[in-house]
């Protein structure tokens, strides 16, 4: 499970960053004003999901196939 951002909806307000208790797990990329999630440190606690004012974060199970869907949603993962 990992937090997945709806980038069309994400406004970069950083409420999820405030909610997240783990270091470097979720942060705002300021040059683009989008939120980036680190898959390896995310423990899918759901705090960011609850905090997001526009409900644009979901916890999803298998990131690979979802990322390949012809969706307008994007996800960042750690190398």
């Amino acid at each position: 499970m990992v937090a997945k951002i709806n980038y069309e909806r994400c406004v970069g307000c950083e409420e999820c960053v405030v909610a997240c208790a783990r270091d470097h797990c979720i942060h705002l990329e300021e040059s683009t004003n989008i939120i980036v999630v680190n898959e390896s440190t995310c423990n899918n606690c759901g705090a960011c999901v609850k905090r997001c004012p526009f409900r644009c974060i979901d916890l999803v199970g298998d990131i690979g196939p979802l990322a390949r869907k012809p969706s307008m949603v994007a996800t960042a993962v750690k190398s």
Binding site: E8, V11, H24, E29, S31, A67, V73, V77, S79
Partner: protein
């Protein structure tokens, strides 16, 4: 593990480079111009906050403000429904068709260029559905009448709206709704949109219809970038950064959270600002204002330029070309040929036309071909830019950035297409407001005796206004491309080569559109066709 072929490392302060995250191609779909220009908008675009004027500051804080702006339109469009369904069938006498197609559709475009989402502020369709959803006309209610479902992430794109608009345009042409045709068709269209809007309001949260479902939202958002107004944005981003309550998004006792899913604290484009003032009312720091700024700024200033918006611009430009070419004689020949070849002629005759509806025009094949012509031309130009820059800039990046620069040209071209009806017949609207149904003997406002007369022939100056509009807006497109060159490229000789190609092509497109407007009038006795 990266899921794509190409990935870019994102540096994070305080994190060793080996642990930097990567940005996958899926994210890069959304970002055409990642860079360091986070605050460039604020520093480069001169602005004047209207909130500094006490009257506007007071006005924007009133809960009844949006109701007052929308209510007249609610009355008018409910009258359109009644007149359309029970009034006379002559579209040039019936108030439903007269106001909708001779006035409203052009006013919407003027509002887009002049105010941004000015129409969304006064939209009677979303006003009614929002009243139902909130169980309140203008007050703040704690309980909402909605299932409050989340709009699906995979359908969160402006392309949904653009597809609806393109499909609606096809049926509008096929049934000759905006011709104007039979008034009941116009009323059916309006009723359909109202019903559709209410359904969304009852099922989904906030203004999901306005953001994703409305056929006009895409085109309004795109053309809004021309507007000399910012939308409601933060006055001081640092205050928003420190604010932990975020009433602008979450709502408060006196305000609703942004119905458009916008955050004034980081907004760099007015694409999704419905200028409803909820954020102004909710902000405990009085940190949100509506600024006047340089027109056209949102074509180059947004820090993130999205591919789906760029694709929308090109699709809409293709649609506009269809609306221009279909007034030329060669189009009729081509359409007839395609009708015979594809069987559309037989299908139309044996289906809708049996019931007195529909026509042989347009053939879906040529309609779709024209719509796709916009993206095809932009793709070709982007490929040329890719090659001439020695593959330094990707095709997608060039497509996205320069499509944003095309917005003014598109806006001017589609605005000009509305002029013939507006400049010829909008003066008959007050006349038939006195007898909305077209019934004889009615003169409710005493305006029926006004000398205004319907005419199917436009004055000669109309095509001249169209050509001038296209040229002025076209020049703004070149200006937008120039600004893009400055803010989204690195100043290299490759970027200047690409710029040269794009601007040359823009000039050719401006000439083509201007000549098309001339020929449309030329083949119609110098009277610009409806």
């Amino acid at each position: 593990m990266a899921t794509g072929n190409v990935a870019t490392k994102i540096p994070v302060k305080g994190v060793p480079s080996s642990e930097h995250e990567i940005i996958t191609p899926e994210i890069s779909n959304f970002i055409a111009s990642p860079g360091e220009k986070y605050l460039r908008y604020r520093s480069e675009v001169p602005r004047f906050d209207l909130g500094q004027i006490p009257f506007f500051d007071w006005l924007f804080h009133q809960r009844w403000w949006q109701f007052v702006t929308a209510f007249p339109n609610v009355v008018i469009f409910n009258l359109v429904l009644v007149a359309g369904f029970i009034g006379v069938t002559d579209p040039n006498v019936n108030f439903a068709t007269v106001i909708t197609w001779y006035l409203w559709f052009t006013v919407v475009f003027f509002l887009m260029v002049g105010v941004g989402r000015g129409w969304c502020l006064i939209c009677p369709f979303s006003a009614q559905s929002e009243w139902i959803q909130r169980l309140s006309i203008w007050g703040k209610n704690k309980h909402n009448l909605t299932l409050n479902k989340k709009w699906p992430a995979m359908y969160s794109t402006v392309l949904i709206s653009i597809i609806f608009f393109v499909v609606l345009t096809f049926f509008e042409e096929y049934f000759n709704i905006a011709g104007p045709g039979l008034p009941f068709m116009t009323a059916t269209l309006v009723l359909g949109i109202i019903t559709w809007d209410i359904f969304y309001a009852l099922v989904f949260e906030r203004r999901s219809f306005c953001r994703y479902g409305c056929p006009l939202t895409g085109i309004i958002g795109v053309v809004s970038s021309m507007s000399p107004f910012d939308g409601y944005r933060t006055k001081n981003p640092d205050i928003c950064k420190r604010c932990r309550t975020k009433e602008c998004m979450r709502g408060s006792d006196v305000s609703y959270g942004c119905p458009w899913y916008e955050y004034p604290g980081s907004m760099s484009t007015n694409f999704n600002c419905g200028i409803c003032t909820e954020c102004v009312k909710g902000c405990p720091h009085n940190n949100i204002g509506l600024a006047a700024r340089v027109p056209v700024a949102d074509t180059w200033a947004p820090k993130v330029k999205k591919f789906d918006i760029a694709l929308s611009v090109t699709l809409l430009l293709g649609l506009t070309w269809f609306q221009m070419f279909n007034a030329l004689p060669f189009y009729t020949t081509m359409n007839n040929y395609l009708n015979n070849v594809t069987g559309w002629y037989t299908f139309s005759r044996n289906s809708m036309m049996l019931h007195g509806l529909g026509s042989y025009y347009p053939n879906p094949l040529d309609f779709v071909a024209f719509v796709l012509l916009g993206p095809a031309i932009m793709l070709l130009l982007s490929y040329m830019g890719y090659v001439i820059s020695n593959k330094k800039y990707g095709i997608k990046k060039l497509f996205t950035l320069y499509s944003y620069a095309l917005i003014p040209l598109f806006a001017g071209t589609i605005l000009a297409r509305q002029f013939p009806k507006f400049l010829t017949n909008s003066d008959i609207v007050p006349k038939y407001a006195s007898s909305p149904m077209g019934f004889k003997g009615w003169n409710l406002l005493g305006t029926l005796t006004l000398p205004a007369m319907y005419s199917s022939t436009t004055p000669v100056y109309v095509w001249q206004v169209q050509v001038i509009t296209v040229i002025i807006f076209g020049i703004l497109s070149i200006y937008a491309a120039y600004k893009l060159l400055k803010v989204d490229f690195d100043g290299s000789k490759e970027s200047k080569r690409v710029f040269a190609i794009m601007v040359t092509s823009f000039i050719l497109l401006i000439i083509m559109n201007a000549v098309l407007y001339y020929y449309m009038a030329f083949f119609n006795g110098m009277s610009a066709p409806f």
